[in-house]
């Protein structure tokens, strides 16, 4: 990637690229998958530098969620719908769960990752109540995952079935959420084998 493109991407992400140059960049990105990948990385790095990128999985990530992702047999305690303490939702345990679960490439509708290879972690994450301002959150340190081999294939929900749930849900999702749901539905399922063609028509 040339220095000029790098500067264009940087300027675009900073909102400083003029309209005409943005369109040229867009055309390049549409044609060039490698450039798109680089762009995505830049966006991620840019957010990390600004301190707003997603923190990665911590030691505190609950084992039960890992088990659910990996598709391993669950312990007796985790296998049954467990009674939830009324205190469960209080702002302590949840932060690591949210960040951790979101960070792992979980199998799902998009099947972006067939088997989550980054299940292990090395750094602990501070379990604290949700900060009341973005700048405060932005100052928090970011931790990183260490890839480990996944011992078992994930228990994947069939993509078509998940699509049905998401499509039905999008009717009721509000505002910007709906935009997100629909935009996400448009994204190509990378690891999903193509469904067989069906002759049926309306």
């Amino acid at each position: 990637m040339s220095e000029q493109i790098r500067e264009q991407i940087s300027a675009f992400l900073d909102g400083e690229l003029p309209n005409t140059e943005s369109e040229l960049l867009l055309k390049r990105l549409t044609r060039d998958p490698e450039l798109r990948e680089s762009f995505g990385r830049y966006a991620l790095i840019g957010e990390a530098i600004r301190g707003t990128s997603r923190a990665y999985l911590s030691k505190a990530f609950p084992a039960r969620v890992n088990l659910a992702i990996d598709g391993e047999p669950k312990s007796a305690g985790a296998n049954t719908p467990r009674p939830l303490s009324p205190r469960w939702w209080r702002p302590f345990a949840g932060v690591a769960v949210a960040a951790g679960v979101a960070a792992v490439a979980i199998v799902g509708f998009q099947h972006r990752s067939a088997a989550p290879a980054n299940g292990g972690t090395v750094t602990a994450q501070n379990l604290s109540p949700a900060p009341q301002s973005v700048p405060a959150a932005a100052r928090e340190a970011i931790s990183y995952t260490v890839p480990v081999a996944s011992p078992a294939p994930p228990a994947a929900m069939p993509a078509a079935r998940l699509t049905g749930y998401v499509f039905a849900h999008s009717r009721y999702s509000s505002g910007l959420d709906q935009r997100g749901v629909l935009a996400d539905m448009l994204i190509e399922a990378e690891d999903q084998p193509p469904a067989p063609a069906a002759p049926a028509a309306p």
């Binding site: 990105l29 798109r36 799902g108 973005v134 929900m157 993509a159 063609a197």
Partner: protein, 349 residues
């Protein structure tokens, strides 16, 4: 005397000006600079203007290029949302139906009479219930696409919901950039416009899907006229994260299932979570196992759905799936709390 009065007038005038400014200041803060007013302007622009734009959708370091076309003509809204990167997937919505073209799955999903806002999304009115769980604020103004923008943040007050940052064009209030953030302010997903035109007219040809539909399977799904079975309808979330309450209960066909699922919608006024309760094939009285829903085996676990999550579990022999643009823990919490005879009237937190 005249001179003294003049002197008095000399300092009275600045005082009057200062007083007037002070009196006007609260008005100004409630008007042009109030972030709620900017959100309302954005909603108006998204719903009522013609626009044709291309944007980047960035999530987890992955980028997709998409085109949005939105036309309002004689009170009739037509929209097209198209992936420009490979998958060829498209949405087309008009007043009668929403159609999702999935060429990679050889499937076309159709939902009749979609009751939806614009594809680009808007935000609901922020009532007291929403304000209890989100904080809205203006951030320093900046520029996007070389244009001055207002930056509005909708921050969640806890980790059970996501928030937003919106870069709104100063002139049109269109969102040139949006970010979905978690409660720590970390970006989960963002949309950046590379081009946005707001023409007076949009041609029909710009709203026609590019997908070739020959040989594709048409699946019509939507709210079912048939009620879910009494057994399914008895299921509810017995416990909810703060602020969430039951807003919709109905029956819904999922994909090609022949038996409607019970569909519950929980919302905190901004974020929504759908819960689907389905019978296992053997649990449907008198149903043929081959035709009863769900056709696939039961699923347990967490799945990523774009920026949100789905969590499935089996409760008393029924498949329970919670889906929403919320953190994983929220869908997991709700799915695990579902049980037959759960709280019919759920307390509002």
């Amino acid at each position: 005397m005249i001179r003294r009065m003049s002197n008095r007038a000399g300092w009275l005038i600045p005082c009057a000006v200062v007083g007037a400014l002070l009196a006007a200041a609260p008005q100004r803060s409630r008007g042009a600079d109030d972030p709620r007013d900017w959100l309302e302007k954005m909603n108006q622009a998204l719903a009522t203007r013609n626009y044709d734009g291309t944007f980047f959708h960035v999530s987890e370091g992955r980028i997709e290029t998409m085109r949005i076309v939105h036309r309002v003509r004689a009170g009739r809204v037509t929209e097209r949302l198209q992936s420009l990167d490979g998958s060829g997937r498209e949405f087309v919505r008009n007043n009668d139906e929403l159609t999702c073209y999935l060429p990679d799955q050889h499937t076309i999903l159709v939902e009749p009479k979609p009751d939806r806002g614009p594809f680009l999304g808007s935000l609901p009115q922020f009532g007291a219930d929403v304000n209890e769980f989100y904080r809205i604020e203006s951030l320093p103004d900046t520029r996007v696409l070389g244009r001055p923008v207002r930056v509005i943040a909708v921050n969640p007050k806890d980790q059970f919901r996501f928030g937003y940052r919106l870069w709104l064009d100063e002139k049109t209030a269109m969102p040139l950039k949006t970010q979905l953030c978690d409660s720590r302010g970390q970006v989960i997903e963002q949309i950046l416009f590379a081009r946005l035109d707001m023409p007076d007219a949009i041609a029909d040809s710009d709203l026609v899907p590019a997908v070739r539909t020959e040989g594709m399977r048409w699946v019509r799904q939507g709210p079912s006229h048939d009620n879910a079975s009494a057994a399914l309808s008895a299921y509810r979330a017995s416990e909810l994260p703060p602020g969430f309450h039951l807003t919709v209960q109905g029956a819904q066909t999922i994909g090609e299932a022949t038996v409607p699922a019970s569909h519950l919608v929980y919302s905190d006024g901004l974020a929504t979570v759908s819960v689907f309760v389905e019978a296992q094939p053997e649990a449907v009285p008198g149903a043929d196992a081959a035709s009863a829903a769900p056709a696939e085996p039961p699923v347990e676990g967490l799945a990523r759905v774009g920026s949100g999550f789905a969590y499935s579990t089996v409760v008393q022999g029924h498949q329970v799936t919670a889906v929403g643009e919320v953190p994983a823990q929220t869908v997991e919490f709700i799915a695990h709390s579902v049980k037959s005879g759960g709280a019919a009237e759920l307390p509002h937190h």
